[in-house]
């Protein structure tokens, strides 16, 4: 049971080689930008194909290069939250949410949409367009749209990074609640260690296309597996990851 990932991929001179597994938990992919976290998420979603590897969720194979299995993204029952949310600008809040459940029977689709709108405090905004609502509301619409068909896995690509701090904290609470309610493995990509620490049950640390540590937030914080991880943890929030990466350990300026 759980999610089992093994990917190898070369793209534009960058090489990714990772393998990990998580259970029914909230795991964070953590590392500097360009470490391969988002690439991993895209390959899980089927938006990009690995050169080699496999992807299993609860013993269903979605990708396996050795057998040539490669389900297209529309046939993978995963919810995906994009960094910019990717709400459809030409659809209202209501239409955006329904679009995520297009293949459910009409009545079920609409009753679930109403339920999500109530739960996610979106009532009254049904006929608004994404540009007409606040950042926090857009986040919750994106969640509702991704969750309406009850995905078996939730993937989040730094969706909170553009938010102001108070709303970001609120969205973390929200994510934890969603994760508990829907009870599915959840993967959050972030380069903010505070975020990882506050929310994760497991942290998977990326460094330039490889995994350098997997463990609980406490384990990563208290006993980093390498100097690099220690530096990554210390240098947070990583306002200037490039400068931080170049700095000597312990010197995050």
């Amino acid at each position: 049971m759980g999610l089992q990932v093994g990917f190898q991929k070369r793209v534009n001179g960058f090489s990714l080689d990772i393998a990990w597994r998580i259970g029914n938990e909230l795991a964070v992919l953590f590392g500097f930008s360009g470490a391969g976290k988002s690439l991993t998420l895209q390959m899980i979603a089927g938006l990009m194909a690995p050169d080699r590897g496999s992807l299993r969720l609860d013993n269903v194979v979605y990708f396996d290069s050795s057998t040539g299995t490669d389900l297209p993204p529309q046939r993978r029952p995963f919810g995906y939250l994009f960094q910019d949310l990717a709400l459809f600008p030409h659809m209202t809040v209501w239409q955006n949410i329904l679009y995520g459940g297009a293949f459910l029977p009409r009545q079920e689709k609409e009753s679930r949409a109403r339920e999500l709108i109530r739960e996610f405090k979106l009532a009254g905004l049904e006929d608004r367009y994404p540009r007409e609502i606040s950042g926090g509301q857009r986040q919750r619409v994106a969640f509702a749209r991704a969750l309406i068909r009850r995905p078996k896995l939730l993937l989040l690509d730094e969706p909170f990074s553009a938010l102001d701090r108070p709303i970001r904290l609120e969205m973390r609470q929200f994510l934890r609640k969603v994760r508990d309610d829907f009870d599915i493995p959840t993967l959050l990509v972030t380069h903010d260690f505070e975020e990882a620490l506050s929310i994760a049950e497991r942290i998977i640390v990326y460094q330039e296309g490889t995994i350098v540590q997997i463990g609980s937030p406490e384990a990563v914080k208290d006993s980093p597996a390498s100097r690099y991880v220690a530096q990554l943890v210390e240098c947070n929030p990583p306002v200037q990851p490039t400068r931080c990466r170049l700095a000597a350990p312990g010197n995050c300026a």
Binding site: A45, G46, L47, P72, P73, Q74, R75, R76, P77, F78, G79, Y80, F82, D84, A86, F88, P89, H90, Y99, G100, A102, F103, R145, A146, R149
Partner: protein, 221 residues
């Protein structure tokens, strides 16, 4: 306006309208393929659909005669089976306008489709929608303004078609003399006063179309 002139105006509008419908039906799928699919021969396909934009309309017309003329590669069979030929009918004017104006539709629509945010397309897939569902519900609606601009400009070009039309449909008064062809005839026989009105009408209509196309195109961005 007198009967023959009114006929030309009506014929021009009719030819341009039918050609534009065909252009929409062919142009959008072709533009979609060129914008979204990577396949062998894509550049060749793009070239074939761009050529009529650059070639002298008489050359395009020449190819069409070679293909659809009574002894043409395709026209020969049509004539053998049905005894009918498209040559010198108003259908020929439609065919000429269609071929000459199609590149404008393909170019604008392709650009509009390519400018649709890739994340929105990816989002549609991750929400369980396949290629056709995504094309119809996300890509085409978001490319709508570009498609509208392409439609208007294609209609205008179709209405102004002269060279290929003359070669394919000829200049048969009361049958195939669209506005541009009627103007050519009137000028040739020195009937300037009659030509004036039509020239003015063509100018005003074309100006209007450019205005509309610009308005739509501006909102694309």
């Amino acid at each position: 306006m007198e009967g023959p002139l009114l006929f030309s105006v009506r014929l021009s509008l009719q030819v341009a309208a039918v050609a534009t419908v065909l252009i929409l039906l062919v142009g959008i799928p072709v533009a979609y393929l060129l914008a979204r699919r990577d396949f062998r021969g894509r550049e060749l396909l793009d070239m074939v659909f761009t050529l009529p934009l650059v070639l002298p309309p008489t050359v395009t017309g020449y190819y069409l005669v070679v293909l659809f003329g009574r002894n043409g590669l395709i026209g020969r069979f049509v004539h053998e089976w049905t005894g009918w030929s498209i040559m010198f009918t108003w259908y020929a004017a439609v065919l000429a306008s269609f071929v000459v104006a199609l590149p404008l539709m393909v170019k604008t629509t392709r650009a509009a489709i390519e400018s649709v945010d890739k994340n929105l397309i990816a989002a549609s897939y991750t929400l369980g929608h396949g290629e056709i569902g995504t094309a119809v519900q996300v890509i085409l609606p978001l490319a709508k303004r570009g498609i509208l601009a392409g439609t208007v400009i294609s209609f205008a070009r179709a209405m102004g078609e002269f060279g290929a039309t003359l070669m394919l449909a000829g200049n048969l008064p009361g049958r195939t003399d669209t506005m541009p062809i009627a103007i050519y005839s009137l000028a040739g026989s020195g009937e300037w006063s009659k030509a004036h009105g039509m020239v003015l009408l063509m100018t005003v209509l074309s100006g209007l179309f450019i205005y509309l196309a610009n308005r739509y195109a501006k909102r694309v961005i």
